[in-house]
């Protein structure tokens, strides 16, 4: 074995401070590799000594406290104003066990419900949604706010596309840890966003009502979004081979919804 090979083998050990006999024999007779071995050992030792600053808040104590006192440990869902289309469903979700996924359900419903209640001038509905302390929910709320501000159909289409992407990414992240029921919920919301958000919004942009340049923009957007749906389908499909069996159905639903959405968008793009 040459020195380079020995040195690489030291670095690939679980712990360079514990050398197997095969390496020790060479190192005993080689000063260069001896120095290397000492440096590698010291590196691991120093890595273990890297200081960690204390957490700035008191969140551990809060969680422990809540658990100990028997308080529900929930991520606070959004305050849902009365929405014509989705209030009933939203409240039903909120009444259920308030897991992270419960909060997500409410957040997604806010987005879809809010869009349906915008006034013709684009004024967002009255009522404040509190931003929850949850990165994914924050993203959903940001989509909701962007939707309220969007003036052009193509902007709304992009936002719905982004929301679909957020949901498919979240589903893939949760696929190994969420329960099958929770994952199915996310898949269902994804399906809703694609059908009721993306495809419906695209239908509200018929080509024959647009100027030539707007038609070109429309086709470009529809093709781009179809491409993103295709990408979501491919990534999710790839994951179905890597998750527990009870997660596959939900992921497959996302794949099917994404592909169906892609097909519809391409038809609309080509028809226009």
């Amino acid at each position: 074995m040459n020195c380079q090979s020995i040195q690489n083998k030291i670095l690939i050990l679980p712990d360079p401070r514990v050398l197997p006999d095969a390496l020790r024999d060479h190192i005993a007779g080689c000063e260069v590799c001896q120095t290397w071995a000492k440096q590698a050992a010291r590196l691991d030792t120093l890595l273990q000594q890297l200081p960690v600053p204390p957490a700035p808040g008191n969140k551990k104590a809060t969680v422990v406290d809540d658990l100990t006192r028997g308080n529900p440990v929930i991520i606070r869902p959004l305050a849902i104003p009365a929405r014509k289309s989705f209030a009933g469903s939203a409240l039903k979700f909120l009444d259920q066990n308030k897991t992270v996924i419960g909060g997500l359900a409410a957040a997604v419903l806010v987005v879809l419900g809010g869009w349906s209640l915008l006034t013709p001038s684009g004024t967002p509905p009255v009522g404040v949604a509190e931003t929850p302390e949850h990165p994914f929910l924050k993203m959903i709320v940001q989509r909701d706010l962007a939707l309220a501000k969007a003036k052009k159909p193509v902007e709304r289409l992009q936002i719905f596309g982004g929301l679909a992407e957020d949901l498919s990414t979240e589903a893939r992240s949760l696929a190994r840890v969420a329960s099958p029921e929770e994952l199915w919920d996310v898949a269902q919301w994804f399906d809703n966003v694609v059908k009721d958000g993306v495809v419906n919004q695209a239908r509200n942009m018929p080509a024959d009502t647009l100027t030539l340049s707007a038609q070109r923009e429309r086709k470009t957007e529809l093709d781009a979004l179809a491409g993103k749906l295709s990408d979501m389908a491919a990534k999710t499909e790839k994951m179905t081979g890597e998750v527990p069996p009870d997660a596959k159905a939900a992921l497959q639903k996302i794949v099917d919804s994404a592909r169906a959405g892609e097909k519809k968008l391409r038809e609309m793009a080509n028809a226009g």
Binding site: L11, L46, P51, T68, T99, V100, V177, E182
Partner: protein, 197 residues
């Protein structure tokens, strides 16, 4: 000095998990007590921000609480929780910009069983801290899980959603990069380059 891994008390932890899955919050509480600081430490290294690390740690345990029913008894709870933490980190990275922090002057000394940090070591630590922060996320996460957490390559692979071979490779590449960057700092205190021992 080899960091002692958490003394395994499989029966005790299994009991806590069983209790948590039956709705006993005290069971889950004990799991939080056991793993919170470790997870925070790792997430701090990944995010390089105390606030974000704490938020992610909290989010991870809340998600774990919500999903504890889906945890398979007998499998590795620590790896499961860290996996959730890793997913949260990946999601967070997508939505927030990361800021790098210098090693704070008043950084808390870690619990290393009473090992004293000498002045020479402290200087080396500052350089290593930055070098570790500069590693690609994949390499850094694998290296720290292996070295700081004492996890096996197989456990590291499970957490990062990859194969054991890839986990081993990432640790190797991380060490290789650090060795290249840090060779003067890695000489034992008092030694000079070229000195034979």
């Amino acid at each position: 000095m080899i960091r002692e891994t958490d003394p395994t008390l499989p029966n005790e932890e299994a009991e806590w998990i069983r209790a948590a899955q039956s709705g006993d919050r005290d069971g889950f509480n004990r799991l939080v007590e056991r793993y919170w600081d470790r997870l925070y430490r790792w997430l701090y290294r990944m995010t390089r921000d105390r606030h974000t690390a704490e938020d992610l740690t909290q989010e991870t345990f809340l998600k774990a609480l919500g999903a504890v029913q889906s945890f398979r008894p007998g499998s590795n709870f620590r790896a499961w929780v860290f996996r959730i933490g890793h997913n949260n980190f990946v999601n967070q990275k997508r939505s927030e910009r990361r800021t790098k922090h210098q090693l704070p002057e008043d950084a808390a000394a870690p619990d290393v069983g009473g090992v004293e940090i000498t002045t020479e070591n402290r200087e080396a630590l500052e350089v290593i801290h930055q070098a570790v922060a500069d590693l690609p996320d994949d390499f850094r996460s694998a290296l720290l899980l292996r070295v700081e957490e004492g996890l096996s390559f197989r456990e590291v692979a499970k957490i990062l959603g990859t194969t054991e071979e890839t986990a081993r490779w990432r640790v190797f590449k991380a060490r290789q990069k650090l060795m290249k960057v840090l060779s003067p700092e890695l000489l034992p205190p008092g030694a000079t380059a070229g000195e034979t021992t």
